[in-house]
Symmetry: C2
Subunit: 275 residues, 2 copies
Amino acid sequence: MADQFVHINGAIRPMGEAAVSVFDRGLLYGDGLYETIRVRNRWCIRFDLHMTRLANGLAALDIRIPEIDFQTAIFDLLTANSLSDARVRLTITRGESPDAGNPTTVITAVPLSPHGLDPTKAIIISHRRDETSPLTGVKTINCLASVMSVIEARNKGADDAVLLNTSGNAAEATTANLFAVSGRRLLTPSLDQGCLPGTVRAAVLDLAPGLGLDAVEACIHPNDLGAADELFLTSAIRLARPIVELDGNTIGDGTYDICARIRESLLRDEQPEDG
Amino acid sequence: MADQFVHINGAIRPMGEAAVSVFDRGLLYGDGLYETIRVRNRWCIRFDLHMTRLANGLAALDIRIPEIDFQTAIFDLLTANSLSDARVRLTITRGESPDAGNPTTVITAVPLSPHGLDPTKAIIISHRRDETSPLTGVKTINCLASVMSVIEARNKGADDAVLLNTSGNAAEATTANLFAVSGRRLLTPSLDQGCLPGTVRAAVLDLAPGLGLDAVEACIHPNDLGAADELFLTSAIRLARPIVELDGNTIGDGTYDICARIRESLLRDEQPEDG
């Protein structure tokens, strides 16, 4: 980490010099949003989907779009940090003033974890997503429900948690979307259930017909999760990860046919066209 | 602001040198909490109530209590900034690592606004408090629902917003508790309705018998707010502020007898014992 660089408000700086004002509204009020992008061979996977979601989120929060070419900024940062595979995070806050239209932009790039694709034990948690919130679908930095859910999951011997919505139906995991396979049906909570519009979620829904699956965005009761043939999580960084256990009940051993084929397809998409 | 100082992790620094790491979890995930304390004549009003709520919040978030004497730190900061009346904010985040037990502490002190006690027009907003959340009652920095509610209120010609809970009953305003006077009854949402346990809320409940009022912590339907004799907001910084209009309907002209007497009593408590 000694030679790590960070992109902040348009300039690349050594990590030790990269800091944000204590009056930044991101720190004071969680007044901002973020994107986490998987980078393979210096290629930002599903970059356009991330940029679309970011623009929608900034509009929802009434934060001005920073005048930064994110693609160039990320390439420069990867070069500075000598990375070709990376987890890139873009964080944009409203800045120091609520009115000035002067947002703070931070970009970080760290190595991809080799453990990202491991099977997961999950619990259903008492923190909820409010599917009626005007902020539903915005990837804000108000992440405490997810933070505390992961802490509680780990304290109970699990790795991650599934959050229900205020109607008692499944919404998503702490930082991932949720999929269930039942026969030839591939189910995931619809966006009105309070989940984020995940980039890999969208890719998986696109893949389903080619795998002979009926993709269904639905209202899913937690009882239906336990009865599924396969359960898995999707996220930009960790792609598709099997859930092997939910609330202590075994779903399977994680060698899921559909999940594996989806993961292979997602990984294949990351190869350069000409090898 | 040129000579302003900030307290950060145990040391007082010039504002220009006071910054937090871009890897601080407060900035990345809103992983922290805060207190805002009213200071008059270098006296922290209701300091013990703030410290109790802070300790409860840190326990709820599983963040270690920083090894800082907050009272001394605040006095030193007031001296550095040449302030005797101030709005002091304490922000504590989990720091850079989820496991290291090395929280970040920031203390700022700025002048009290002279406009703090002005009457308020409020609207009822579509953002909600989740009264079932395990984080209810913790003053976290996940404030986006309040931030966006204020923006929407101002866009609609109001000053502040009243948030309902997921059951449709009144919870609180964006950064204040809510009181309604009906005859000799002084009503405020009970803590299980999803409001913060405000320090001035507690003080007002204590004051009520001396003013000949029955204080009732209750479940309050929004229709009952419109029918109240008086509506007012309470907060540590702004004490008791009349609501003169709710959703465009006039409640009164703001010269409320009970609200005024409560405010006078709160202000009297701020005078040094011997004049």
